[in-house]
C-alpha cells in the first residue's frame, strides 16, 4: 500500500478531483490515516445535491450557460468528494458521448448530466440500460430512427467499439492488441436490431421527452411459429427472439437492450477476463493515471507481470462488485502503481483540468463568466479545444498531446496571463487567502528567492509533474529580481508595489510553462 503523505495526497486530490491549495491538501492529509480511507471518502461522491444545469422544462438553456454552470461547480466543489464526482461525471461525458451539435435544445444534455450524477458511480450495466433510453443519446446515436426494416447501426457499433468492449482485446502492454478483435460486423448489425424500437415520446407529466419502447418498431423475426433469434457473437453465447405477441426476454432483464447487454457483459478475452472490465479498466486508468503503455513498467513497482495483468485485477473487482464502476476506480486509486512517478508526470491536462486546477490552487472563486480580462470560461475552454457538452465526435476528446499545439498552447498562455492579472470581480486574486503567500504580505523587503519559492509552492510546482529545475527557478528569480538574485521585493501592501507586478507576474509565468500543462 502506497504511503499516505503530502505528495500522494496532493496527487490524489489532483487526479481524482481538481486539486487543492496547500492548506487544503494538508487538511486532507490530516483527516485520514491511509490511502484507502482517503479514497473511500472521495468516492462517496457526497455533498450538496447538485441540480442539473438546465431546469427540466427550460428549452431555452444556452450552451454557454450550461458550460458556466458546470465549470463553476468544478471550481467551487468544497469537499474532495464533491470534486471527485465532478471529475467522474466529466469522464462519463467523455466516454458515453452525446454532443450538442445534433440538438436544437441543450436541455437534453442537462438531463444526461443528471443521469450521470445520479447513477453513474453504480452498476455500469444499469447505466448502459438507462443511457440507451436517455433522450440525448437516442437523438445523438440515431436510436430514434433505428426501427424495424430500417436499421441504423450507430448505437450498436458504439456500444461495441467505444462504450463497452473496444475493437480489440487489451494486450500485455495495456494497449489494444490489433490481432484480437472483440466482435464482427454482423454483431454490430445484430446488436442494432436487438436495440431497435426505442423512440422519443413527450410525456406531459414529466415535462420532457423520454425514450420509450414500441414493440411495432422492434426488428426481429416476427413469424410467430418460427422465431429466429438474433445472434450475437459467433461463440454462440447470444440470442434474442421475438415470438408471437411477446418479446421473449431472458429472465430477470428489464428491456430489450438490457437483454442484449447481458451478453456483452458476459464477454471475456482470451485469458478469461471480463472484456467490459478490461476495457473500462484501461479507460479509467488512462483517465486517472496515464495512457498505456508504460514507458517503463518495471519502474512502477508493480506486483503484476505487466499492464494487462494489472488491469485484470481491476476488472475482477468490477465484476465481483456487480459491475460497479466505483469499485473499479477504487482499485485504481488505491494501487501502488497509481502513486508511481510515471503516474504523476504523463497526463496532459485537459483544458478543464488546467483551468480549474489553476483557480483552486490559488483559492480563487469564479461565477464561471470570466477571470479578469478572459472570456466567459465556457468560451475559454472552447478556445483551448474543449467545448463542454459538445465533444468533437462520439469518441470524445482525443486527449493526451492532441490537446497541445501552437494554437491551443497560446490560448492557455493567454489565460494564464488573464489569471495572474485578475484584479476585479468574483475571480480576483486574494493574496491573503493564499497560505504560502499570505505570510510574506506586510513585509517591505522580502528576498526574491523566498517570493519565488512561495509562489511555486502555492501552485504545487515543487511537487511535479517533475519538480522545477534550477534553470527554471533561476529564470523566475531573474525575472522577479530584475536580474539581481539578491534583490528584495516590497510586499507591504496587497494592492501595490511588487505584489501587483512581480507576484502576479510569477503566477502568470508558472502557468505558461510546459510543467503546468501536465500532471
Amino acid at each position: 500500500m502506497a504511503v499516505w503523505n503530502y505528495e500522494n495526497a496532493a496527487h490524489l486530490l489532483k487526479r481524482a478531483g481538481f486539486g487543492a491549495p496547500p492548506d487544503k491538501i494538508q487538511d486532507f492529509l490530516d483527516d485520514f490515516a491511509s490511502v484507502e480511507e482517503a479514497v473511500d471518502s472521495m468516492l462517496s461522491f457526497k455533498g450538496k445535491k447538485s441540480k442539473p444545469p438546465a431546469k427540466k422544462d427550460d428549452s431555452t438553456a444556452s450552451l454557454r450557460s450550461m458550460q458556466r454552470w458546470w465549470i463553476k461547480r468544478m471550481v467551487k466543489s468544497k469537499r474532495p468528494s464533491d470534486a471527485a464526482r465532478e471529475k467522474f461525471v466529466l469522464f462519463l461525458h467523455d466516454h458515453l458521448v452525446s454532443g450538442a451539435d445534433k440538438f436544437d435544445e441543450y436541455r437534453w444534455l442537462s438531463y444526461q448530466n443528471r443521469l450521470f450524477r445520479n447513477i453513474g458511480g453504480g452498476s455500469f450495466k444499469t447505466l448502459m440500460r438507462e443511457f440507451n433510453r436517455d433522450p440525448a443519446n437516442l437523438i445523438y446515436l440515431d436510436g430514434i430512427i433505428n426501427r424495424k426494416n430500417n436499421i441504423n447501426e450507430n448505437w450498436g457499433r458504439e456500444v461495441m467499439e467505444l462504450f463497452c468492449l473496444g475493437v480489440f482485446q487489451i494486450g500485455d502492454d495495456g494497449a489494444p492488441d490489433p490481432a484480437k478483435e472483440n466482435y464482427s460486423e454482423s454483431d454490430v448489425q445484430n446488436l442494432a436490431r436487438a436495440s431497435s424500437g426505442w423512440v422519443g415520446e413527450f410525456q406531459n407529466n414529466k415535462g420532457q421527452y423520454i425514450g420509450v419502447f414500441e414493440i411495432g418498431e422492434y426488428d426481429a423475426d416476427n413469424n410467430p411459429g418460427n422465431p429466429a433469434p438474433i445472434e450475437l457473437f459467433d461463440d454462440g453465447i447470444g440470442g434474442f427472439a421475438y415470438s408471437g405477441q411477446n418479446l421473449r426476454f431472458d429472465e430477470g432483464v428489464a428491456d430489450t437492450v438490457d437483454d442484449a447487454l447481458k451478453y456483452i457483459f458476459e464477454k471475456t478475452d482470451d485469458g478469461g477476463n471480463n472484456q467490459v472490465g478490461m476495457f473500462l479498466a484501461s479507460k479509467l486508468w488512462t483517465w486517472y493515471a496515464f495512457p498505456p503503455p508504460s514507458v517503463d513498467f518495471a519502474a512502477l513497482g508493480s506486483a503484476h507481470a505487466n499492464m494487462k495483468a494489472m488491469f485484470a485485477t481491476f476488472a475482477l473487482e468490477f465484476v465481483n462488485a456487480g459491475f460497479e464502476i466505483k469499485s473499479l476506480i477504487r482499485a485504481i486509486l488505491t494501487s501502488d502503481e497509481f502513486y508511481s512517478a510515471e503516474a504523476k508526470s504523463r497526463t496532459v491536462k485537459s483544458p478543464a483540468e488546467y483551468v480549474v486546477q489553476m483557480l483552486r490552487a490559488f483559492s480563487v472563486k469564479t461565477n464561471g463568466k470570466n477571470v479578469g480580462d478572459s472570456n466567459d470560461l465556457g468560451r475559454v475552454l472552447d478556445d483551448m479545444g474543449m467545448r463542454l457538452f459538445e465533444p468533437p465526435n462520439v469518441a470524445g476528446w482525443p486527449g493526451g498531446l492532441a490537446w497541445i499545439n501552437a494554437g491551443t498552447l497560446l490560448e492557455r498562455m493567454d489565460f494564464a496571463k488573464d489569471f495572474g492579472g485578475s484584479d476585479f470581480g468574483s475571480s480576483r486574486l486574494r493574496f491573503k487567502k493564499m497560505s504560502k503567500i499570505a505570510p510574506l504580505l506586510g513585509n517591505a523587503a522580502v528576498v526574491v528567492t523566498d517570493v519565488v519559492d512561495a509562489v511555486i509552492e502555492q501552485g504545487g510546482f515543487d511537487l511535479g509533474p517533475v519538480p522545477l529545475s534550477t534553470v527554471q527557478r533561476d529564470a523566475l528569480i531573474n525575472y522577479a529580481g530584475d536580474g539581481n538574485p539578491a534583490a528584495t521585493l516590497d510586499l507591504s501592501s496587497e494592492f501595490t508595489g511588487d505584489v501587483e507586478t512581480k507576484v502576479r507576474g510569477l503566477i502568470s509565468l508558472l502557468y505558461q510553462t510546459a510543467e503546468s500543462q501536465v500532471h
Binding site: 494554437g407 529545475s469 534553470v471
Partner: protein, 506 residues
C-alpha cells in the same frame, strides 16, 4: 509536511528528438538539406463554404437535355442561358454581370457555366487555370452538416472523426516539432489540419499572436522561453508529453514573433513583426480593411474572406514558414429565400471577388516600400502563382429541385455531391469528368446529385500530385494511409477500391 522544500533538481542531458527521415522528405531547392525551418515552395489554400453550397446553382447546365430538366425542377431558382437574361437579372446589382460565363464541356459534351456573378473567377477559367471537378462527394451522403463535414475532413465515409487528411499529410511530409506550417484564419482549431508533430496557428487577427503578458513583456517572454527550453531538454523517453510540450512552447513563442510585434528575437527588433509590417500603413497602424502596404488586387475588396486572404497573402510574402492555409465563408445553408434579394448570387460574388483577387495577388510581382524585406529577412516579392493551389469545398451540395414555388420563398435542402473548384498556375483548366446527370440520381435518393469523384480522389490528387506523397499512401486500410479505404457499397452498388487521381494537376 512530508516533502522536502526546494527540492530542485538539475535535469539530465538533452535528448535529441530528431525528425524521422522520410523517404520523400522535401529538400531546400538545389540542396541536400532537409526542409527544416524555411517555408516550402508549395502553397495550398483551402476555401470552405460553410452550410452546404448549392453546387447546381454555382455551376449549371447551359443547353440540351440537362438544361431542360434543370429548368423544370428549378422554375424560379434557375440561372440564365443567354447574355440578355444575365444582364437583365444581374447587371443592376453586379455591373460586371452581363454575359453567360461558360466554362466549357464535360466528358459527355454537355456545356456548363459559372454563376453569372462569378466574373472574376471566370477570367481565370478563360486563362485555363480554373479546374472544375463536378460531383465530388462520398458514398451514402450524410445530411448532417457536422457529420458530413467530418467525412470531408477525414475522407472516411463512416464519419467517425479523428485526425483529418491534411494533418496526416503534414505528418508524412515530416514537418518537425518547431514548425508551424498551417494557419487557420477562422480562429477555431479545425481537426482536418492538425498534425501529430508540427503545429498550427488558429487566429482571426494577427494581434492574437502576441506574447501574453501584462507589461514587462520582454522579461516575461525571456523567462518563459528559458523554462520551455529546459522542459524540451527532458528525456523524450521518460517524459514524452512534457518534452514535446516544451518544444511546442519554444516554437510557439519564437514563431509568433515572426508574425506580430515584439521587441525580441526576430532578425531586427522593431515594433512590427514581418507579417504585420505588410499590413500597416505609414503611421504604424492597420491600414483600411487591413489592406496590404503594396499595390495588390486584394486591396479594397470588401469582405471578411478578402480580409482573411490579405492576411494569408502577407504571411506568404513574409516567408515565415507557413504554406498551408484555411479560410472560410459562411451562409450557404439556403433552405429558403435562396434567390431573395440575390442572396446566393451575393455569396458567390463575394467568393469570386475575394478568391479571384487573391489569385491575381499571387500572380504578380510586388514592389515593397523600403528595402523590400524585413531588415535582413527577405520577403517573397516575385510571382508566386505557379507555387499555389487554391481549392474549394463544402460539406455537401443541395437538393436538385427547389423546395417551394414562390420566387422569394424557394430554397434547396441538404443533399449530396456538388462541383468544386481548383485554381493555380500549375492547374489544368476545364471540367474533369462528367457532370452528374439530373435524371440519374443515386438509388433511393431522388433529389440528390450522385457523386462522380470520391472526395478521396479529389483531395488525394492534391496530396499526391501537388505535395508529393506517394499514391500508394493515399488510401488503404490502416493508420499509415491518409484515407481509410472503408469498403462501402454506395447506393448504386459502386465501391471505392483505391485512389485514382484527377487530371486537374499533372
Amino acid at each position: 509536511m512530508a516533502i522536502t522544500r526546494r527540492q530542485f533538481i538539475k535535469r539530465g542531458a538533452l535528448a535529441t528528438a530528431g525528425v524521422a527521415a522520410s523517404p520523400y522528405m522535401r529538400m531546400v531547392p538545389g540542396t541536400n538539406v532537409a526542409w527544416a525551418a524555411g517555408p516550402g515552395n508549395k502553397i495550398v489554400v483551402v476555401v470552405q463554404m460553410n452550410g452546404g453550397n448549392d453546387g447546381l446553382g454555382t455551376i449549371y447546365p447551359l443547353s440540351g437535355t440537362q438544361r431542360s430538366i434543370y429548368e423544370s425542377i428549378r422554375p424560379t431558382l434557375q440561372e440564365p442561358d443567354s447574355d440578355v437574361a444575365v444582364a437583365s437579372k444581374y447587371s443592376g446589382a453586379f455591373p460586371d454581370s452581363t454575359a453567360v460565363l461558360s466554362v466549357g464541356l464535360d466528358d459527355d459534351l454537355e456545356e456548363y457555366a459559372l454563376h453569372p456573378t462569378m466574373t472574376r473567377l471566370h477570367a481565370i477559367s478563360q486563362a485555363g487555370k480554373l479546374a472544375i471537378s463536378p460531383g465530388v462527394h462520398y458514398p451514402h451522403s450524410n445530411h448532417s452538416h457536422f457529420r458530413s463535414e467530418v467525412i470531408w475532413y477525414t475522407g472516411d465515409p463512416i464519419g467517425n472523426g479523428g485526425q483529418g487528411w491534411f494533418g496526416k499529410t503534414l505528418d508524412k511530409l515530416a514537418f518537425g516539432p518547431t514548425q508551424v506550417p498551417v494557419v487557420i484564419m477562422d480562429g477555431s482549431l479545425n481537426p482536418v489540419y492538425t498534425p501529430t508533430t508540427a503545429s498550427l496557428f488558429a487566429i482571426t487577427r494577427l494581434n492574437q499572436l502576441q506574447f501574453p503578458a501584462n507589461g514587462e513583456t520582454n522579461a516575461k517572454r525571456d523567462a518563459v522561453l528559458a523554462m520551455h527550453g529546459d522542459s524540451a531538454a527532458l528525456s523524450s523517453v521518460t517524459y514524452p508529453e512534457l518534452s514535446k510540450i516544451g518544444q511546442t512552447g519554444q516554437a510557439t513563442i519564437t514563431k509568433m514573433e515572426e508574425y506580430y510585434k515584439s521587441g525580441n528575437g526576430f532578425p531586427d527588433s522593431g515594433n512590427a513583426g514581418p507579417v504585420e509590417a505588410l499590413l500597416l500603413n505609414g503611421s504604424g497602424s492597420y491600414s483600411a480593411n487591413n489592406d496590404l502596404v503594396y499595390t495588390s488586387p486584394l486591396n479594397g475588396v470588401s469582405s471578411r474572406l478578402a480580409r482573411d486572404l490579405r492576411h494569408v497573402a502577407a504571411i506568404i510574402r513574409a516567408d515565415v514558414g507557413a504554406c498551408y492555409f484555411h479560410v472560410d465563408i459562411g451562409g450557404f445553408d439556403s433552405h429558403s429565400g435562396q434567390a431573395k434579394s440575390l442572396f446566393h448570387a451575393g455569396l458567390l460574388h463575394t467568393l469570386s471577388e475575394a478568391v479571384g483577387a487573391f489569385y491575381e495577388e499571387l500572380d504578380q510581382s510586388v514592389t515593397l516600400p523600403g528595402s523590400g524585406g524585413y531588415g535582413s529577412h527577405p520577403y517573397k516579392t516575385g510571382n508566386l502563382i505557379n507555387d499555389a493551389v487554391i481549392v474549394t469545398f463544402s460539406e455537401f451540395g443541395r437538393t436538385m429541385a427547389q423546395n417551394a414555388s414562390g420566387a422569394n420563398e424557394a430554397g434547396t435542402d441538404h443533399a449530396a455531391s456538388a462541383a468544386q473548384m481548383v485554381l493555380g498556375g500549375a492547374v489544368q483548366g476545364g471540367i474533369f469528368g462528367t457532370y452528374p446527370k439530373l435524371d440519374n440520381p443515386p438509388a433511393g435518393h431522388d433529389n440528390d446529385l450522385r457523386y462522380e469523384h470520391d472526395v478521396r480522389d479529389f483531395f488525394g490528387t492534391i496530396i499526391n500530385r501537388w505535395l508529393g506523397v506517394p499514391a500508394g499512401e493515399i488510401a488503404g486500410n490502416g493508420s499509415s494511409f491518409v484515407f481509410p479505404l472503408t469498403p462501402t457499397l454506395d447506393d448504386d452498388g459502386r465501391n471505392y477500391t483505391g485512389y485514382t487521381p484527377i487530371d486537374f494537376l499533372l
